[in-house]
């Protein structure tokens, strides 16, 4: 095992996720346009493909404004939170199997544990950084985010653990093979649904966008970030989404397996993209829950369902 090889992992993760995000943002805009009988981006590049690039450029040159934070030193933490979150998201992508597949490196051992650990850190950054901010919408948004993530991290973690228990391994590569070759989306269909719900809540997508609901808390905890900081936050959130889509695809949809055989990592990328498209359709066609609706459904519906799925996985594990 060559340690130097592993230094390439973050680079490849960054490249892959930026490619994925670019593709997703463009697809989202075109898809939303199709769903609502519009045309979508059109002018910049072929079929508006470089519109996203133009938007990134615009965000980079915008004025950078930060609200007052008391005590003053907390301003540093508040101001740097988007970059911290970006780092965390990069770590998250680096813990998924896709960069290892692409770079032909042996994947990390027990990477699922790492992934769950990193996944639970972003809310800490968020709460610590927004606690002292004098903007009320930011404050309300951040405690909404805390409440939501407390409920749905449990759903996501249990849905992620179920296939691992069924295949008695914390290695994503092993879990990907499925239950004796049968993908977990077939043997644990409930887990895929609860996992998708957990992912939606984690990335704050409609109908779980309560923490940033534009018509209630005007953007919530990300309200006061502008220009480059907003861009960084945008990237961080979508990178997290990328990591979670890859996770869902590799646990439930058979990982990199596919026919016809393609270069390593391609099938996983395609499957993650298909999950992203599914999420886009959900985002396009549902209204938002209220805060109480999200929390009560989290504990009364999704946590029990995810737990039932976990029990089913334990039975599989005991029988086979």
């Amino acid at each position: 095992m060559n340690v130097v090889e592993y230094l390439r992992v973050p680079q490849i993760s960054l490249a892959l996720s930026i490619g994925f995000i670019y593709l997703c943002v463009y697809t989202m805009r075109k898809l939303m346009a199709r769903v609502t009988w519009r045309i979508g981006p059109k002018y910049v590049g072929p079929a508006g493909f470089f519109q996203v690039f133009a938007d990134i450029l615009k965000l980079m040159v915008k004025e950078d404004v930060l609200p007052d934070v008391e005590p003053r030193y907390m301003r540093i933490i508040y101001g740097s939170a988007p970059f911290l979150l970006l780092g965390l998201s990069l770590a998250l992508v680096s813990a998924t199997p896709i960069p290892y597949l692409v770079a032909h490196i042996e994947p990390l051992r027990n990477s699922l544990i790492w992934l769950l650990l990193i996944l639970s850190l972003d809310i800490v950054v968020l709460i610590v950084s927004t606690w002292y901010v004098s903007s009320k919408y930011v404050f309300i948004g951040s405690y909404r985010a805390l409440a939501q993530m407390l409920s749905y991290d449990a759903v996501l973690a249990m849905s992620v653990l179920a296939p691992a228990i069924a295949s008695r391994s914390a290695d994503i590569a092993v879990v990907s093979k499925g239950l004796h070759g049968l993908w977990y989306v077939v043997s644990l269909p409930l887990g895929f649904v609860t996992g998708l719900v957990g992912v939606l809540a984690e990335i704050e997508a409609v109908p779980f966008d309560v923490p940033e609901a534009p018509t209630e808390v005007v953007g919530g905890w990300e309200l006061e970030y502008t220009g480059p900081r907003f861009l960084s936050l945008f990237l961080a959130k979508r990178m997290e989404a990328f990591a979670l889509f890859v996770l869902l695809a590799s646990l439930y949809l058979g990982g990199d397996a596919g026919y016809p055989p393609l270069p390593r990592g391609t099938w996983l990328f395609i499957k993650a993209f298909l999950v992203a498209v599914l999420v886009m359709f959900i985002v396009a066609s549902y209204p938002r829950y209220s805060l109480r609706g999200v929390l009560s459904r989290g504990w009364r519906v999704w946590v029990p369902l995810a737990y039932a799925n976990l029990v089913l996985a334990m039975i599989y594990s005991a029988l086979w």
Binding site: M32, V35, T36, W37, R38, P67, D68, E70, Y132, S134, S135, K136, Y137, F139, I140, R144, V206, P207, D209, V210, A213, P214, T215, E216, V217, V218, V283, A284, S285, Y286, P287, R288, Y289, S290, L291, R292, G293
Partner: protein
């Protein structure tokens, strides 16, 4: 409300510490408006939050008071037509209708209005009601985070707006009615177009049942939330779809028809069951369907004849006063015109014009009901009332 100024957000560098401390007694003061994405128009509420729960709510209004009533005192009746439809841009035909009926009654020329003109007035009013309710569906869906709603509802609204454009020549303030009739006649080709568009619209209405009423999340946001009892609404003087959603069958088109065509085709009153947010949406969707039916039948039975019963612009008023009320898209649109009969170079101007908008009563009702509500429910509740703040402040 002294505490508001001391706890408000300060952006200045030398301000005292701007950190607000959350404790059970004080809570957070939050200005939802006048610039807030969920507030349609420059108004809002200054609310005191404890956690997510609103414990106090004070309306912030007065940003678009235009002094319309005073302006009427410097216009002759003909000029007042243009002013009357600017009370609320969303339902301007009905506002103009209330004014026109009032002035016609004052002049005693109500009987001179030709039947064809009455029919065209009713058709325009119903089309405008459809457009207004679609605007509600668009904004309400957007407030609940439904991205498809504004696009679909505006597209449907456009079918109606195009018709009104072809009939009147304008897309927003139509200025269609005249004292004694209407401004333009409907051509046979327009009538065919209108029938086709309304048929298309009727086909598309199913989408709103799917998109709003049969969605589980939509039900979670609206069912049993913001319940208004009928007695409460009557005590506040609230009328219109909000009242009908609370199961009070009061629709002036049916109970005391102010235009002959309404009597001719008959109006079914759309009623809700519990008076919650869900019923207010349901009533409006049903009213759109009912308005489509009324407009279609009126187009079928459109009589022939003149469209203007008076052959010159009316610039003089008799001494006396006249009150009129029509059933608008938000409730009763009421006009009181008082005249001393005096005459000047510009013609005779009313001594006093009083406009009563159904939305102003709702503002205080909302402020009362907001206490104890959660923030997300508050948005769903406030906007389910479909206020026109421009009309409310006049």
């Amino acid at each position: 409300m002294e505490a508001l100024s001391t706890t408000s957000f300060s952006a200045t560098r030398h301000a005292p510490p701007t950190t607000f401390i959350y404790d059970e007694d004080s809570g957070i003061y939050l200005s939802m408006g006048p610039q807030h994405p969920a507030m349609h128009g420059p108004w809002g509420f200054r609310v005191k939050l404890q956690g997510e729960v609103i414990v106090e709510a004070e309306p912030i209004t007065g940003y678009i008071h235009r002094g319309l009533e005073k302006l009427f005192e410097k216009r002759n009746p003909q000029q007042g037509l243009i002013l009357a439809e600017r009370v609320c841009f969303m339902d301007n035909v009905n506002w103009q209708l209330a004014y026109v009926i009032s002035v016609e009654n004052l002049l005693g020329v109500r009987d001179l209005v030709p039947r064809r003109a009455e029919w065209l007035r009713a058709i325009a009013a119903e089309l405008n009601r459809i457009a207004s309710h679609f605007l509600f569906l668009a904004t309400y869906g957007h407030d609940l985070g439904l991205m498809l709603a504004p696009v679909f509802a505006f597209r449907e609204r456009d079918l109606v707006i195009n018709l009104l454009d072809a009939l009147t020549g304008h897309r927003i303030t139509y200025n269609y009615l005249r004292i004694g009739g209407v401004a333009r006649d409907a051509k046979p080709s327009w009538i065919n177009n209108a029938k086709r568009n309304l048929k298309e619209l009727r086909k598309r209405m199913n989408r709103y049942y799917d998109l709003y009423l049969s969605s589980e999340i939509f039900a979670e946001r609206t069912r049993g939330k913001g319940v208004l009892a009928a007695e409460e609404l009557i005590r506040h003087g609230v009328t219109g779809p909000v009242l009908r959603a609370s199961r009070v069958p009061l629709d002036l088109r049916a109970t005391s028809p102010y235009l002959e065509p309404y009597e001719a085709v008959g109006v079914n009153i759309a009623l809700g069951r519990n008076g919650d947010n869900y019923d207010r949406v349901l009533v409006r969707i049903k009213e759109i369907e009912e308005s489509i039916r009324i407009a279609e039948e009126l187009l079928e039975t459109l009589p022939y004849g003149k469209i203007l019963g008076i052959d010159q612009p009316v610039i003089s008023l008799r001494r006396g006063y006249s009150y009129s009320v029509v059933e608008g898209s938000r409730g009763w649109f009421q006009f009181l015109v008082v005249s001393t009969g005096g005459f000047s170079k510009k013609g005779s101007m009313p001594y006093r014009v009083k406009i009563s908008n159904p939305c102003i009563q709702m503002i205080y009702l909302i402020a009362e009901k907001l206490r104890g509500m959660m923030l997300s429910d508050a948005i769903a509740f406030i906007n389910s009332m479909d206020l026109c703040i421009g009309g409310a402040e006049r």
